[in-house]
Symmetry: C2
Subunit: 392 residues, 2 copies
């Protein structure tokens, strides 16, 4: 087990009506003026935004609202929000939405206290040392941004990059599973695929041993396998939604990444897909991850890890066939599960094009940065994984 | 899933040499004068105490030392420590030891800022609203006190009670698995039994559903089953010790208790055993828990939970026999595991006496407080569980 520091200072308030605690939690942070950040009008139409703003006002906190975040949130709005936060002298950024809104809010929070170019943080030429406090009311179980240190933003030219900083970790997260009842099935499933990918990026570690961390990863995956079909069958199944929501949170706050080098190559490959095609991040991951796993099994020593996953999570008989055989059977079951939940698992189903592969690899820029720890991605390996995505 | 608030602000620094970060972490809290609290002389003889004090001094922090904590830490020393903390005007209490030392440090931290009777906090007639910050250097993987809100203290008349307060949660915990290499096998195994009990108290929930929380509980238990024998075989197996150490931490900071009512009856039954016989807490739990489970299976609707545990953790065939049969087979395997690790699983093996049962039940005072949520303990049920402890 590698040495690590683990620090999740986020206070989670979970349950029905949790959004009504916004004022109380903001006040506990000493906030007096909050920038309320949101996406499309759905939280306006549902009345959620009004409830959150009322909670803030009841606690004596003034509000400034900024909507318009889109999936794969754009740099332009982050810059606009940072300028607004400075102009309005807010002391809290409260995201009301899913991962895109929270990621955008983190960028705003860091940018508001910085004089320079915000994009530097995403190109990682600078790390923000301070940020306005961030809070969130989560409406989609998926990205885990509600307690992570990451923010992923797309520049208007399609370039998608991520900032990592302790300073942007949310101070509080209000999680009400009922807010996810109205999510369409495809978005529910894409969210779950994103969570599974967050776990798998940590599972594929070159430094894994006989680890508790593996067991936690497997437990989260097993729970998603149990609860996603329940939520798709009955979108208002509170318990299924609650389990998915908490799975999304702990899948990405490093609870299941303790003491290990992690991979994150599949995320990099997917970022180029959603950057180019503007597809749902989770749907892109449903395409990339099984292909990446197959490449890892066949070319990068991934058979043992994948066979363990196949047996412990996908119910493959531990005595059947070879290690590679069990691994490939596990991948087949993973793909079948994703497809049964309505997700694409190929370029074709996603609407991506094989002829774009060279362009995707150009955008990835594997020669400019280190991508992947279990499987190092260079032009050749990245191309090979994208090629596997083209098979049905 | 029940509504919950989850907040673990403790910063964990984990790995070889972690104790050397004491000064840095204390300084980050603004500390200028620390009370360093420890147990017997083992950390003096090993040089650990000197290393920690040097780290503090190097960071410009003065130190006052108070040793003498014993297993089942005593109220008298907590009072002495609180008086010393006031007299010396310390602004941090740093525990160097296992759960007993950390629990004692928490009592001191709360008592130092209180004018009244410290024991009130343990009788729960008052809850401490503030405390000096607590930090810790952990030397035993067991109690999970390094990130819990609990402190268990024994009054000199054998009365053992617990305080629960947000204010005493450690601000930082320095976890170096190497510090546990010298633990004797019995103490290593007792610590693991304590962790398993912390998980099981949460597993036996009257409000459990198809839960992620179950999966996390099972993952921690599986990892202990894997890693305890490795640590007993080779006490200097770093990875085994590291996995046990982290298991102990997350077994008790509520990572595996999310969204559910928990039982805690077995802990109450054990507290009377260690209060009366001064036995190791984990050893007492190894005796009580399997007996409690058997009572729950046979008399309190515990067959379904226990059968699930038996199948998922103890490898019982899910198609074999009846639900009760699988549950009892799981308990038998649990007992066999504990015994194979050198732990007692009966009153006789623990050195407890059947004729003391009425006295233990008197000390438990089930008529004065609510004990147990899955199985409510009254005089009759408590007696019945203690009676089952007398069977081999």
């Amino acid at each position: 087990m590698e040495s690590f520091t683990f620090h999740v200072p986020t206070k989670f308030v979970f349950g029905r009506g949790a959004e009504g605690k916004a004022g109380e939690e903001a006040k506990a942070l000493g906030a007096r003026r909050a920038l309320v950040h949101y996406g499309s009008g759905s939280c306006v139409r549902s009345g959620l935004l009004a409830r959150v703003e009322a909670s803030l006002r009841d606690a004596g906190i003034e509000t400034v609202a900024l909507g318009g975040v889109v999936p794969n949130p754009r740099l332009g709005l982050v810059k606009e929000g940072a300028a607004l936060a400075r102009k309005e002298r807010v002391d809290l950024v409260l995201a009301v939405g899913g991962g895109s809104v929270i990621d955008s809010a983190k960028g705003i929070a860091a940018g508001a206290l910085d004089e320079g170019e915000i994009w530097d943080f995403y190109e990682r030429t600078r790390v923000p040392q301070k940020a306005l406090p961030v809070g969130c009311v989560l409406t989609i179980a998926a990205a885990g941004s509600e307690s992570s240190w990451a923010s992923v933003v797309t520049r208007e030219d399609g370039r998608k990059r991520s900032l990592h900083a302790e300073a942007v970790k949310p101070k509080f997260a209000l999680l009400n599973p009922e807010l996810t009842f109205t999510l369409p099935p495809f978005q529910t499933a894409s969210g779950a695929a994103d969570m599974m990918a967050h776990v798998l990026e940590r599972y594929y570690s070159p430094s894994a041993g006989v680890d508790l961390t593996d067991r936690l990863c497997e437990g989260i995956l097993l729970s998603i396998l149990e609860n996603l079909p329940r939520a798709l069958k009955d979108p208002a199944d509170y318990d299924a939604r609650a389990n998915l929501m908490w799975a999304g949170t702990i899948a990405h706050n490093n609870t299941c990444g303790i003491g290990r080098v992690q991979d994150w190559g599949s995320h990099a490959l997917e970022h180029e897909l959603s950057g180019l095609y503007d597809c749902a991040h989770g749907a892109g991951l449903a395409v990339v991850f099984p292909a990446w796993m197959r490449y890892a099994v066949e070319h990068a020593g991934g058979a043992a890890r994948t066979a363990q996953l196949a047996v412990r999570v996908f119910g493959v008989d531990p005595r059947a066939g070879t290690e590679s055989g069990r691994a490939l059977e596990g991948i087949a079951r993973f793909k079948a599960f994703l497809e049964s939940c309505g997700l694409p698992t190929s370029f074709k189903a996603l609407g991506a094009k094989r002829e774009d592969i060279p362009r995707l690899v150009d955008m990835l820029e594997p020669e400019r940065r280190t991508i992947g720890q279990f499987l190092r991605l260079d032009r050749q390996t990245a191309t090979a994984v994208y090629e596997l995505c083209c098979q049905d």
